[in-house]
């Protein structure tokens, strides 16, 4: 399978008078493992919300494999080959793990087909097993621990069989072992050709998993490159990463930018 290429072309979005995304343009290459990083409020989640259709864009274009999807209704976008997870867990609390995960491939099913059809259940169970979650299929998700719920969200998005998988802070709140498991899972997904776009604050996770990093600040692109290049770039260090060797300029610039 070829992963989808996602391009934001000159995209803008304002909320009231606040321009959250400011003429933003970047490309996530098909099959790449791209990280989207930046300080809090940089607009990372807003990018996800614009691409998935939670918000409509004010200006610009969002291209998925060259096709402008910015006017496609949100419910249809999953059919164009994208799926996502959420920064704060957005599982259906009263549904079981299996039912939550099956929602991922819901868009391909007919309304009156049985939800627990054998093939659908098997597909969902094997996806859960692949993520190490085989022990939880029948349980109502509200009663499960945070780390498990976090991974169920990833499996749900995966079951949509996306060409591009967008994960919003998938490693947040996970312990080291869980983070390693997640990285293993995402590497296997990537090996199938799926494009990964990941918002993540855990830079070690990003460095190990991703081959391309896009850095945002105040809704604008400030840098993109390989993880190593990003770690060396002064503008990124200043805006986001911080550096022990030069704390003063970082502090000073930040204050100046905020005020």
């Amino acid at each position: 399978m070829n992963g989808a290429e996602l391009t934001l072309a000159n995209v803008s979005k304002s909320f009231g008078g606040l321009m959250v995304i400011d003429h933003l343009g970047f490309t996530v290459k098909g099959g790449s493992r791209t990280a989207l990083i930046g300080p809090n409020g940089a607009g990372k989640t807003t990018v996800f919300n614009l691409v998935s259709g939670v918000y409509s864009i004010d200006d610009g274009k969002i291209l998925l494999d060259g096709e402008d999807i910015s006017t496609v209704p949100p419910a249809r976008r999953i059919g164009h080959g994208m799926s996502r997870s959420f920064q704060n867990i957005r599982l259906m609390p009263h549904l079981s793990t299996l039912e939550n995960v099956m929602l991922g491939e819901h868009w391909r099913r007919r309304a009156f087909s049985l939800a627990r059809g054998r093939r659908a259940v098997e597909a969902a169970k094997s996806a859960l097993a692949d993520a190490g979650l085989q022990t939880y299929p029948g349980q109502v998700v509200a009663n499960l621990p945070y780390g498990i719920q976090k991974r169920i969200e990833v499996v749900r998005a995966l079951l949509a069989e996306p060409k591009i998988l967008m994960l919003d802070e998938p490693a947040a709140g996970l312990n080291t072992a869980e983070t390693d498991d997640l990285r293993g899972l995402l590497e296997r997904v990537s090996a199938r050709g799926v494009t990964l776009l990941i918002v993540e604050h855990d830079m070690q996770f990003v460095r190990r998993l991703c081959d391309h990093v896009v850095v945002l600040n105040f809704g604008q692109l400030i840098f993109e490159g390989t993880p190593d290049e990003v770690h060396r770039d002064p503008s990124v260090i200043e805006a986001y990463l911080g550096a022990d060797s030069q704390p003063k300029p970082v502090q000073a610039t930040k204050t100046a930018q905020v005020s």
């Binding site: 998935s52 259709g53 419910a75 549904l95 099956m102 929602l103 819901h106 009156f112 349980q139």
Partner: protein, 295 residues
């Protein structure tokens, strides 16, 4: 079975059907305080058909369901534009309008009500209720049912996973309306009479309570709710006759009942029957059936 007992049972079963009419929209996150409206539509339609047009009972019940469903379908579009408490008010207003219309159609008997001679006893009510119960359980087990429950939990995320939000909610509301019509058709033939007073505001509130107290997460919820609301007052009534010290229940049983409802709401805020409860019960059975796994 005594006439009294079979009467109580018939009312319990009819109440269960009407509870399902509110349950389906509630399972999809829609609060419907207009049950009385659909019950009146179904009751007057079926009653009119059997008493004035000479229809047999079964097709009259079916026609009542279809007509109430059609009204619900048309009504769904404006009603679904509202949210939360405004939806409650809109559905409530709908029921009032239906009551007003029925009251002002002379051929339906107006304020004196409509008498029908065809009687629907337990042989009609029991199979109808079973059919409705099986149908609702089947509906919940389909993709549409899964989508309804997903929409109940999170509309926005459901949308992003390709759930046709509007279609799911319209379907839930329409099928609910049809079931309300069927319930009304049974009710009018059980009592051989219907008037606007049969199903007032209080009736709609009770039916919504059946569902909310019983639980909106599984098809067992409305059964439990209807059972609780039908049987507990009857038990309290018979207790008042047992002993002189219980005589206060004769007039005070609704106070006791009201307190019981409040206590249940405190102890089971998501309803008496929840998914978690069923999970626990299933866990108990599994442990009992496989003792080697114990400990």
């Amino acid at each position: 079975m005594s006439g009294y007992m079979s009467g109580v049972l018939a009312v319990l079963l009819i109440n269960t059907i009407i509870a399902y009419s509110v349950f389906l929209p509630a399972a999809a996150g829609l609060l419907n305080l207009g049950a009385a409206g659909f019950v009146l539509i179904g009751g007057y339609t079926a009653g009119g058909l059997t008493s004035q047009a000479g229809w047999p009972l079964a097709p009259a019940i079916l026609a009542a369901g279809l007509f109430a469903g059609a009204v619900a379908f048309v009504l769904a579009f404006p009603i679904l534009r509202t949210r939360g408490v405004y939806m409650v008010l809109a559905t409530f207003a709908f029921a009032e309008v239906v009551g007003g219309i029925c009251l002002n159609i002379p051929s339906l008997g107006g304020a004196t009500g409509l008498s029908v001679s065809t009687y629907a006893g337990l042989p009609v009510v029991i199979p109808t209720t079973v059919c409705v119960g099986v149908f609702v359980a089947w509906l919940l087990s389909t993709r549409l049912g899964l989508a309804m429950r997903a929409v109940h939990d999170d509309e926005n995320v459901s949308l992003l996973f390709g759930v046709n939000l509007r279609m799911v909610q319209v379907a839930a509301f329409t099928v609910g309306g049809a079931l309300g019509g069927i319930g009304g058709a049974l009710l009018v033939h059980q009592f051989n009479f219907i008037d606007v007073q049969t199903t007032g505001v209080l009736f709609s509130i009770y039916v919504l309570l059946y569902v909310l107290i019983g639980g909106t997460q599984t098809a067992w919820g409305p059964v439990a709710g209807a059972l609780f609301f039908t049987v507990v007052p009857e038990i309290l009534r018979s207790m008042s006759k047992l002993d002189a010290s219980m005589k206060f229940l004769e007039t005070g049983r609704f106070i006791v009942f009201g307190i019981a409802v409040v206590l249940i709401m405190i102890a089971r805020p998501e309803g008496m029957i929840t998914r978690t409860l069923i999970e626990k019960v299933q866990g108990l059975f599994r442990r009992r059936s496989s003792p080697e796994n114990a400990g």
